[in-house]
Structure formats: C-alpha cells, structure tokens
C-alpha cells in the first residue's frame, strides 16, 4: 500500500463530524479524531465494513458517485458505531483531484443528525397528537383571524355548523351578517386574555344549543397574537337538568301545599263525621264521609301522576301498537262524562293505518290528561253566551311521517300569564280537581317517544294541544 497523500489539512482532524478520505475501492485512507473515537482505527478497511459491517458497498453510495462524476453528492444513512449504537448521519462526498484534474480520492463527511431526527419525529408526533386532540375533543373548536374569518375548525364544528353560510364566525354560527356586540374574540385580540360567555347557537339541523364559549389567544414565537381560538362546550343538557331541578323544586313545594290541603280535607271529613255521630246527625255523617272519600281519591290520583313523572316508571315500548285504538279507548272513557257536562266529545281519526312502536300505557295516560284538561276548560268556561262545548280528538299522520295527536276544545282558553308557564310551573288552577302535574305527564310521555307537545290558545275561544311523535328509529 502506498503512502497516503497529505489529503486534507490537519485542523480538519478536530472538526465535529466524521471525516474520512477514501480511495476508489472505498478503502479508508485517513480518518479524523471523531471518526477514530466512534468507529476505531480502520485505515485500510472498506468503509461499508466499518460503518455497517456489510460485505458490499451501499446502494447509492455518494462516494462512488463522486468518483464517477467528480461532483459533490450527499445522502442520509444509518451507521453503527463500534459500541453498537445506531446513529443517523448526513453524508457529503467531496472529490480530491490530482495534478491532472482526475479524482484521486474522496473526502466523506458525515454529520450526526440523530438528535435532529429524533426531535423532528417528536415534533411531528406532537403535531399529530394535537391534531387528534383538536379533532376528537367533544367540543366545537375554531381558530379565527382578526377579521373573524375562520382559519381552521375541528370536525365536530364542521359537522354541526354550516360553513356554506359564509366565512366569518358570525355567518356560520349565528347566520348574522355582521359581528356580534360584545365579541369575545375581539376582546381577546385586544387584551390577550381569555374570555368566556354563554351563547345560544343554532346548528345546521336547526337545533338550538346552549354553549359556554371560551376564547383564548394563539401566539407566535414573539408572543404576538396571530389568531384566537374559540372553544364551545355544549351545556344544553346541563341547562335542561338545571331547569328541571328548579322546576322539581317548585313542584315539590306546590305538591306539599296540595298534600296539606288534602290532609286538611281528610281531617275535616273525619271531624264532620265525628260531629255528626255525636249529635246523631245523619246528614253531617254523610257529608263528612264524602269529604273523606273525595280526598282519598285525590291523594291516590296525585300519587299515580307522581309515579308517572318519576323515574320509577320506565316506558315500555311495543311494536305494532295502533294509536288510533288508544285514542278510541280514551274517547270511550270520557264520552259519558263529557256528555254529562254538556260537552260533545268528537273523534276524528286518520283513515290509514298508523301502527308503529309506542308505549301504549304512556300514550293512554297522555291522552287521558289532555282530554281531562279539555273537559275542565269547557266546564269552567265563564262565557255563558257559548251555546255548546265541543272537544275534537284527532289522530293523523303528518307529511313528515310523524303521528300527531290533537285535543282541541272551545272552552275557556288559557290566559297569557298562565300559558307562559303551563309546562314550567306545573301548577293547577283547578283547585280541588288538578294534581298540577298532568301536563308534566303529557310532556314526559311525549319526550320518551322523542316527540314534543305544543299548544295554541286564545282566551275565551279555546285551546288546541298537539303532541307530535316522529317515527321511531330502531
């Protein structure tokens, strides 16, 4: 073997990368300190043996390419140190020319990029994690610029809000043409702080959601605010429960009052019976006993309605239930009682078969309550000019496939102040008659069927309650 030429200056020996000079056969002619430290003394050995313990040159070897075309080449490789540690390197091969300008040897410079590579991998992993988080959190998230144009939005946001409405958040979330007063995003751009508020937004399906919105700044490396992120948490269910709890509290208070009155009626009845017995007054005894009976009936009806409203009773759905048949049963139940009060209870049923999956007991109770209310609305109608009272009991299929039950009376109607709280306050204006929760039963059964209860009323003219039940999804 010939004496190696002085191929590179000595100072290169301390360079912080692996340097080696190789001949055409890829034999190492010379190597720097770092190379010797990590790969050992290998002058005379093939580089592929040293780096990879291979028996042949690597494919796309940059050194071989440089020998061929005299150009600088580079590539990435994985090599193994003498301690067995695999490191990633960027390899650059530079030709060394002889006095005739031919490539006599090649300097191979390998820079360890393992750390860079590992950081890059971690970075992209972090990006993926963030993306996944962004997409999978059960919140609506969007990122807005200073003009309130949506820069980015997560899947849930895109699914539920119609981006075809426009590019600004106020177009998409609220269908507005200009920005909202008290915009959280603008506040965050202005002061760099997080802000929050409660909003009611409408999804593309027309559902209104109660949301808590948080706005927070997105900053660049210089801490300048480049965008604002809005996170919307759906609290519709929480609101609903909160509302229900409030209502329940009121109901319990109202119930206590009602129960006290019933107790008072019971004790009063006993008192009157006893007084009658003491003075041998048959009439008083009868009157007292009637009071007892009446109040026992009231308490049992109250308990029955209460059970309906509580979780105790789970709806039991059955297939092939004919709602027309249930309406007929309720009609039959009330015809006589209505007639006694001078009310014409009419039946108007859809000709087509409405069979489907329903909770028959629930529907029966729902209708009993609605018809009972309608009868009372006629009985207690203060308008003496009305010649007759009529209640229409209807059941039909709507164009959208839903089954609609209607109970329409021409009774007293509901005054505005009462109409506003018929579902909320479950109170009774009927004194002794009502349990105050009949409409709650109606609403509960309708909701269990995925349906809803609405009503139209005009004081002095009458009221129409409509229960719509969509076809049941299996």
């Amino acid at each position: 073997m010939t004496e190696p030429v002085q191929s590179y200056p000595r100072w290169m020996g301390v360079m912080p990368c692996y340097l080696s000079v190789q001949d055409r056969q890829l034999r190492i002619i010379e190597a720097n300190n770092l190379f010797v430290r990590d790969f050992g003394e290998h002058v005379g050995n093939f580089c592929y043996q040293v780096y990879k313990d291979n028996q042949a040159p690597c494919p796309d070897c940059p050194v071989l390419q440089t020998f061929q075309d005299g150009q600088v080449h580079s590539g990435e490789e994985k090599v193994t140190t003498r301690e067995g540690k695999v490191i990633e390197v960027v390899v650059t091969s530079t030709p060394l020319l002889d006095e005739n300008g031919r490539v006599s040897s090649v300097i191979e410079m390998s820079t360890n990029i393992s750390e860079v590579k590992s950081l890059r991998r971690k970075l992209s992993q972090t990006r993926r994690d963030y993306k996944r988080l962004f997409e999978s959190v059960p919140c609506y998230i969007c990122v807005l610029d200073r003009d309130l144009v949506i820069q980015e939005a997560n899947t849930l946001y895109k699914e539920h809000f119609d981006s075809s409405r426009g590019t600004h958040c106020y177009d998409v979330c609220k269908g507005r043409k200009n920005r909202c007063d008290d915009c959280l995003v603008e506040k965050t751009f202005a002061d760099g702080q997080s802000h929050s508020s409660e909003e009611r937004l409408t999804t593309r399906n027309g559902h209104t959601l109660n949301l808590v919105v948080h706005s927070m700044p997105v900053r660049d490396e210089e801490r300048n605010i480049t965008a604002v992120m809005e996170v919307f948490t759906d609290i519709t269910e929480v609101k609903r429960l909160q509302h229900q709890l409030t209502m329940m509290g009121r109901a319990v208070a109202g119930m206590a009052h009602r129960i006290k009155n019933i107790l008072m009626g019971l004790e009063g009845g006993i008192f009157v019976v006893n007084t009658g017995m003491e003075s041998d007054d048959r009439e008083a005894m009868d009157e007292g006993w009637e009071m007892v009976e009446r109040n026992v009936k009231r308490v049992s009806r109250l308990v029955k309605d209460l059970l309906y409203c509580s979780k105790e009773r789970k709806p039991s759905f059955e297939d092939d239930v004919c709602p027309r048949e249930i309406v007929r049963q309720v009609h039959e139940l009330y015809t006589e009682r209505a007639a006694e009060a001078g009310i014409d209870l009419r039946l108007d049923l859809d000709q087509q078969d409405l069979r489907g999956t329903f909770d028959p007991d629930g529907l029966y109770n729902l209708l009993v309550n609605l018809v009972g209310n309608a009868i009372d609305a006629c009985r207690f109608d203060p308008d003496e000019k009305k010649r007759s009272h009529t209640i229409q009991l209807r059941c039909r299929r709507q164009a959208d496939g839903a089954v609609a039950f209607e109970v329409e009376d021409n009774g007293a109607g509901i005054p505005d102040d009462v109409a506003a709280k018929v579902f909320e306050d479950f109170f009774s204006t009927k004194g002794t008659e009502g349990t105050g929760i009949g409409l709650l039963v109606v609403q509960k059964v309708a909701e269990e069927h995925g349906g809803k209860v609405t009503f139209d009323t005009k004081p002095g003219i009458g009221t129409r309650f409509t229960v719509t039940i969509p076809p049941r999804q299996v």
Binding site: H257, N261, T275, R294, G431
Partner: protein
Amino acid sequence: MSKKVLVIDDEADVRKFITAVLEKEGYQTVTAGDGAEALEKASTERPDLIILDLQMPEKTGTDFHRKLSRDKNLGQIPIIVVSGVAGRHLAVKKPAAVFDKPIDPAKFLAAVEKALS
C-alpha cells in the same frame, strides 16, 4: 250574639272543616272561595274575625289582605292565617295567629277565642 267569622279558602273541603269546627263552638260563619268574593263578604257581612289562606287563585290571599288593610273599617278586623305555604307568617303584617295545614281543632279554637277577646 255569637261572633261572626269569615273563612276564606279556595278549597271547599278546607272551608267545610274550618266552619264545622267553628260552628260546633257556636260561632256564626260566612265563607269565600277567592279574594274578590272575600272582599265583598268582608264589607257586607262585617265579620269579627277572618281566617285566611294565602295561596288562592283569582286574587291571592296577600292581595286580598293588602286591599282589606287599606280600608279604614275592615282593616281593623283580626286575621288568622291558615296556609300550607312556606313564609306564610310574612305576608300578613300582624296576624292574630298562624296555622299550618292541617289544623289542630283545639289549638285553633283557642287562638280564635283569644283573637276575639
């Protein structure tokens, strides 16, 4: 002459209970089912004592009481509150007595007697 007591409650059975207790003791009774009727009875019958339920439809007991107390003559009639509503003692300024439903007839009569003495 026996004293006259006006019993105001929207529930017929409650009115019946209270009047039965009072009549057994020899009091004269008049009844009213709502605030409007009560105001009318108070001015025509001039009772010596009023038994009032505070939660009634039409004109509520408190509303009735406000109107009654503005009247020079009727405003002086003592009132016993009988009600199932919490906070019942707050609505009438100086009730002669307050009873929760259901009442204990003996205690109730003692309060009536005291209010009328």
